[in-house]
Symmetry: D2
Subunit: 344 residues, 4 copies
């Protein structure tokens, strides 16, 4: 089977395994206080446009999400996000388990707008029963979204402005950050994101690492004792250097950007093939996830050779499915799928 | 000012104050282990059609809601309710603070249907990523709802059936239970509710008591150590007999049902006056809360003499407002308001 | 039976019931925004020596304790208190349920010392694994303690100084505050407590009210959105004026201090009787709770006429028991008990 | 520097890195549903003496601890453990953050006894204020303990019996399980542990893996939806096969037992050297952690060449320090340290 079902179905970029092997007999301090974490943070900071940031390495995305949110919010404060946001739809209520309500806004393409956020914030500000409702205090965006869509610089700036106006934190979940920045349609850089967000994370798990997410905190108030939150949440890896080392390999020479950009290009080739075949898109995505509405017969045929993710039934004979390229996708597999799409 | 703003703006029924005065020098055991709580529970059980129930007396509604939900759910389980449900809209995220996600279903009139609940439950049952989403395990209804509407026996039986099918608890918030049962449109009795729900509470605060809600647990599994949940949640009144005594007075001779029924009748008189004046209803309610769409000029005029609750702007010149009768409403005040409505 | 088992086994001071009756037909705003809460807060503030305080009225002690602690602490911060502290020993783990570790210090007489607190704080400050342990951030004292003992002004000033040095909040649980201040051994005033503590509460339930605790917040940072915490915790009484009214009655003319002082005097008479009878004290208490070590035969004899609380077995034939006077104790009952002690 | 500071300062056993490299281009299902996790579970089960167990692979120990405890307890239930227990002393209050009180029992050597546990359980069972205290429901042991000591089969059987009698879960934290079982003083097998405990975990992080802990659940009631707890707690690794693969390598041919036993033997050689040098032990340990009381001058000298962990000051001129051997310790380093001990 050729796997297009997701972007975390293979180990790691070979350079990471090499680095792990090369340092396997070395000894390091525990819990993320080591030279590799330091070096990795330094490499990441080069992209931020400012040294005023803390970088922490966590193991996984759900963990990163609820740790950041726990650190940011008081018990009566809530999170604003798209109803399709990962924290709302796919994390077993982890944010609520940590005590916080999610105010989920309808987002047709996985995105929410500055206007929607402002409306929610205004509702609270003008309420005369404030103590009976939660205070929206943090905006959670994913970039790219769960549907592969991305915010433009203008959109992110507008959201940032709303957050500033209402005293809300802006938190960007970059589990697939590389695929977002690598899109030809993206007009954002990591420096833009660092400038506009109070905290975000750089996904490793889906972008070439064995595992790991690098949380970047630019807001001063969020930095206090953040390591205590990580430890309490079970996110502090004993052999923390394993995370630092991986991010160092990914960021030292731009490998991170290179491999995710390549995956985006592959996705665009698939996209072109679907367009030519007049297979409609469920949602228009400029990144590595492509959502199409396939005839079930076609889906069945492709499923003999490829894995891809079933999303939902569209009608009696059609379904929305996701084809996902990744840092580990191979040229020949892409070409084979393109041929098979043509032959549908 | 004549108050129609809510049903908790006066002290208590005089008989309650009399009973408090009569027992003021008596000594009782603490924390709800006393003769009055026993007697009150016995009176309430007479209405349940079964002695197989535990009755606990708590101070307030939010407390009762989250205590029951905490006792019923494991951390990964969630609550299904209407988006207008009190726990979702007016309790500062208390349920989420206790760790549970609320799956809020759209309910145009404050109610949700068996079909909606079944759909949500089915979504989980058929999910192949169950561990990534929460398990809907408890259905929360309010009776009457926050819009004054009520479920019919058929509707409640259907919801009960869905809950049975999917192994979900059915919890009914009866903060205004008297006003629901007292409605001429109600075809439910307390015995029906006890038969169809696993747990519910009988509101005292809004129905003639100084304060207090009587939680009735019919489901066996929910009864275990419930007092531990009450104490932990801060809901165990030191002088628990104050609660028992009040409910005893309300239930001994049917006072509870009498005074709330009267309030419903008053509300129907107001309703008639609005209909005759062709003032449209925002929502059709058969209980003590009446939601009308008033011209702002009319609202302003009435506001000189009456308090009522502003709900929301409807258009440039109209607003939805709530007139609420209560156990403490007086005949002459009702008639005066009716006259003033006629004169608008 | 004559009750000396606790100080919450009777209704309320008659003046409170009178005030409730007198205002029963009045209408008030809900949730603690009303004229009685305002007036009560004003009366209380007269005793504080500063108007810079917020006063909130909650229903019960456990609720007040965990609401204050929830508002004060971040998830990785902990509470320092005596092992016998009410929050540690008698509240079903409510503080831990809210997410916070309690660092319980051994306190032979219910009290802890500035030195003990400093040691705990220093342990954290000098730790090189701070993120692996909790940060002691709030000191919880009870005044009087669960053993009836009280802190001297010097002791409280020393604890205050340690809290200042280490950036910890000082929180005083005054569920029996009146009995503490009313002791002839007390050299503290409410103004002292307000000056030395960041937050404390004035117990109503055990000091003449039907129920209710007045939380006084002097620290600025703790005041932010405190009403949101109250509501979320289920502590916001719908008919909040019932609380305000009671505290107004208690504080307007010093009734609160008068009735608790009287109870202390009664306790001192009992104490004298025990001393004369050479019945040893389990702990020396200058307030309304008296802990003595009784021969079981004597206890059995007294138990025929009086209720008192068994605390624990001391040896084969002796037990520690508590005799508790209260605002509702009657002169003749005290004298009768004294006679019976003499006749043991 | 030669590292004896802990047992997690090196990468992984070379065979693990080889296996990772060999499978790096393979694709697997996500979130622990894959062939390696299956195979690893099968290998582990061979040691359990029963196939009636669920095996789950988590990333770290703190995570494993609070996930198990969250799954096992209701909000008013508490954990019994030694005061030196990892969950009590080194996890930033994670258990309390999850809502549960820890009842910490004094344990001079890191262990607690069946009698201590029974006393705590009896205190609850015989309490007449049960709802005011927490219910001890789970016993947490570490094997070996934080001081390197181990329970004998008799001791564990006695604790098991108490747990059965009082309806408590027995949970064994085996972060260093290999070093416990590998001790010449151990009379326990994994089958014994599986038989006597309701749930335990097999530490990978400290025993040869890059990271990972295998949670083994033998009790039926604890198995329900355990994956939901893992996901919600952020412990579900996207590339779950990385965990399965590592445990497969460790358990297939007994590598796990071999490398930890070797470390124990090294530790016994160090122990012998200390004994011969008449350097006293802070605590007598039969496993890979050796706690000695060193003269500060000697410690300083050794610190020039070796890392070891400072524990605490003993007196003006002596300190307790820990020397820790591990699966990665090398024969020549052990011999060098022995020589240097002799030359002190």
């Amino acid at each position: 089977m050729i796997r297009f079902n997701n972007d975390y179905n293979c180990g790691a970029h070979p350079k990471i395994l090499e680095a792990l092997a090369a340092t396997n007999n070395e000894s390091y301090g525990g819990y993320g206080i080591d030279s590799w974490c330091e070096k990795a943070a330094a490499e990441i900071k080069k992209h931020l446009g400012s040294a005023q940031a803390d970088v922490h390495f966590l193991v996984g995305g759900t963990q990163a999400n609820f740790t950041v949110i726990t650190a940011a919010l008081r018990p009566y404060q809530s999170v604003v996000c798209a109803d399709s946001g990962h924290i709302n739809a796919h994390e077993t209520g982890a944010v609520e388990h940590c005590g916080h309500k999610i105010l989920a806004l309808p987002g047709t393409d996985g995105k929410i707008t500055a206007a929607q956020i402002a409306q929610e914030a205004e509702l609270y500000r003008t309420s005369d029963i404030q103590e009976h409702i939660t205070q929206p205090k943090l905006v959670y965006l994913s970039y790219p979204t769960e549907f592969g869509t991305i915010y433009s610089k203008k959109e992110l700036e507008d959201i940032h402005a709303v957050c500033q106006e209402y005293g809300m934190y802006l938190f960007l979940d970059g589990a697939r950050l590389g695929y977002g920045l690598g899109s030809e349609q993206s007009d954002l850089s990591m420096a833009d994101i660092a400038r506009l967000c109070d905290v975000f994370y750089i996904g490793g798990t889906k972008c070439g690492a064995l595992f790991g997410e690098a949380v970047v905190i630019t807001d001063k108030s969020l930095r206090t004792d953040f390591r205590s939150y990580i430890k309490q949440a079970g996110g502090m890896l004993a052999k923390g250097w394993l995370l630092g080392l991986q991010f160092y390999v990914l960021f030292k020479d731009g490998l991170y950007f290179e491999i995710t950009k390549k995956a985006d290009e592959y996705a665009m080739e698939l996209k072109k093939a679907f367009i030519e075949k007049r297979i409609p898109f469920y949602i228009e995505s400029p990144t590595n996830q492509q959502f199409v509405t396939l005839a079930d017969a076609d889906a069945q045929k492709l499923a003999e050779k490829y894995t891809f993710e079933f999303e939902k039934k569209i009608d009696e004979t059609h379904s929305c499915v996701r084809f996902c390229t990744s840092w580990s996708s191979k040229e020949e597999d892409i070409q084979e799928l393109i041929r098979d799409i043509k032959n549908l």
